[in-house]
Symmetry: C2
Subunit: 490 residues, 2 copies
Amino acid sequence: MINGYDPRTGETTGDAIPETDTAGVDKIVSAAATAGTAWRATPAKERARALEAVADALTAHVDELWRLADQETALGEVRLRGEVARTAGQFRLFAQVVRDGGHLDAVIDHADPTATPPRPDVRRVKRPLPGVVAVFAASNFPFAFSVAGGDTASALAAGCPVVVKAHPGHPGTSGRVAGIVREALPHPDLLGLVQGMRAGKDLVQHPRVVAAGFTGSIAGGKAIQALIDEREVPIPFFGELGSVNPVVVLPSAPAAEVASGFAASLTLGVGQFCTNPGLMFVPEDDELRKALAAAVEGTTGGPMLAERIRDGYLGGLERLGALTLLAEGNPGEGAWAVTPKVFTTDLESFAAGLPRVAEECFGPASIVVTYRDPADLRPVLERLEGSLTATIHSSLPGEAGEIAEVLSRKAGRLIWNGWPTGVAVCWAMHHGGPWPATTVSAHTSVGATAVDRWLAPTAYQDWPAKLLPDELKDGNPLGIPRRVDGALSV
Amino acid sequence: MINGYDPRTGETTGDAIPETDTAGVDKIVSAAATAGTAWRATPAKERARALEAVADALTAHVDELWRLADQETALGEVRLRGEVARTAGQFRLFAQVVRDGGHLDAVIDHADPTATPPRPDVRRVKRPLPGVVAVFAASNFPFAFSVAGGDTASALAAGCPVVVKAHPGHPGTSGRVAGIVREALPHPDLLGLVQGMRAGKDLVQHPRVVAAGFTGSIAGGKAIQALIDEREVPIPFFGELGSVNPVVVLPSAPAAEVASGFAASLTLGVGQFCTNPGLMFVPEDDELRKALAAAVEGTTGGPMLAERIRDGYLGGLERLGALTLLAEGNPGEGAWAVTPKVFTTDLESFAAGLPRVAEECFGPASIVVTYRDPADLRPVLERLEGSLTATIHSSLPGEAGEIAEVLSRKAGRLIWNGWPTGVAVCWAMHHGGPWPATTVSAHTSVGATAVDRWLAPTAYQDWPAKLLPDELKDGNPLGIPRRVDGALSV
């Protein structure tokens, strides 16, 4: 049985939920696959309406949902209401994506009998992967990266049924969200839910599963990859793993703004974001150091999502304890509460401690590395592992060119004079990055192009018009963007 | 040392070539990475011109190249001249792709301070993977899937330097092609060449290698994946492996045309194509059976590319010997010559022998499976593994709908009343398919979108105009297709 826990008390909350056994997983995946046949063939307009129906249903239940999630996560009303809105917004964005049709990359090359050799008529369009998408939900976003999160929304948008492995940190919320989404979809089995670690193994090894999405730790991602490697037929695995999100503060940046922005970003959601700024390079400067210390001392911690996550944070602090403590915030309240802490070291010592010193410590902790000359930064930044984001603070773009070039090879999103927490859900977003930030750096788990992960092209050669998908028929009946004989038209 | 062999005589040809040792691989990859820094930053127009210069150079050397390759492969003048033209054509297509810029998927979302939460300015574009692409050349295309083949052309187009591991079947041709391409590129080190199996291991495990492309056998692909799995930092592996390319002949198809087309496709290039029709389902029909037998008996074999490949074919024939021989062609001439052979069985026996009976036998061999009722085909087709292609022969599209639906989940390219050999190099081509046809079914190794494998997006948040890539600057200075605030424009 799986129990939800209240991070404020450390006591169980809600009813215990049974783990899904192997037969149960098989039944749920098979039902999803069966429902998926009709979903795959559902016209884009209808699919878009269904995604919007899910968004409406989530919004309609926000009062119930935030309370349920707050009991299991202690993330609070404002954040959780906002997260339900974001989750519904993701479904609405994917409805737009599906209506637009540009994500299908439709291409038509008419026959050219005069070519050497003569070229047949070839038409290509992306279609849903032929089977069920497995989604492993995250601890830290009970809505937006969970049962009805971005992986689920994008896979449904692609035309794939989904089975989610619930995160044990919010089993009750997971079950309720699944119920709401299942009711809103044209067929309830388009979204399945399984609970328990064993169920995760059975899910990702099921022959009808064709791809998997995951948000979690590097260790968790490696464990799932190992399970996938045992499969007879390999499947793509889109994992969003750990990230330290380096921030480089250049000498021209205003100290007060940097200090207050850093402290706020570091402690948002008790630091439980994959985009948390875990590493910051700053000039050796007493004013900035004092401002940072004061800002961090003004923060307050809070309970982490789970006892295991709290223990992980405390373990990380022990490792960071080898550095100098720059400042700490106020301890938060609650059974699993933790205190924000910021450590400091100089660039030379930091470089000597790589790569271990730069490993992610999940929670409200960060390292401030001081440098004397910005020219010294480049070789150290070159040695950093991949991150989801990298940030530069400067009031002189001209001083940042070289640093920007290095960081552009180290992270999927580059931020100027801002902070990495808060990922906009939009067409242009890329929430990905080089290993270990993700398993596949070409893909994103946030934004419109997240749908690409669940699609693969099919080419049709001299195919009869009657059997062509509408997306490829002459006259463009769906009015989607297409490239015809080399020229893109919208 | 590595020797080329003449398949007509079985004797060595050309000078023996030394294997590249570990230090040599490191030197070549490091030189490619260094040259790649400037290549990555080279404007699209210049990059396109460089690709065209490679095409020109290959074309200028066709007389020399076909002769050299013919000594090592015995593929003959017509085929090899055509293949050099195809190889040059691939570079020209990628020059068009680079000029067009649509492959970069540039997206701009302007800031929206009224959104909840306020949305920053976010811009996204695809950029070359930050490092060297490793390419493993194929045996059966000494030009088009080898040193200057589609993997190399698409990776250079993306902006990545390339190091190729030559195929031992044509070491002399590989060296000469590398020399021609290196001279035509802005910097010779943008294309490196290594020789020998050990060099392949060193190459794919080199820390500066960020992705690998491969065309070859399932066993070879699995071996390279195992080497990649040993890396500290994983990299994407785009393998194009085995494929049986099922053909379904429906009752309305004209027997004579099917028979002659099949025999020609089966024996083209001594059956040494990954798109060879290795499996065909036909109605029980004496006329068709006789026409097939006659057509196959009219074919002639020839020498295979290598002794090991010939031995593999003979091994495959032993396995297929458990079926009934329908017909065989004339033995070809040469030391490693083989005879085309076609076997037959009925649908029930075939189904009982799955999956082993349907394994690829590389060379001019195929299985003709007879069925009584097209309605019996569907459950058997459902059990086939993934292929690069699937083909339907019919004069009534109305009778093919269900079969087409199954095959569309089993192959990357669907062909109507044609044959799978001969892959058009064009914008719409998809040369891929579900495992084991490829390692990543979302990608192709032929056609314009082959470039996608070597790109990954970067998002720029509130980034200063001065530091933005030209592709993302206001006013669209490069005139490329872009999606701005949700609307695609060209």
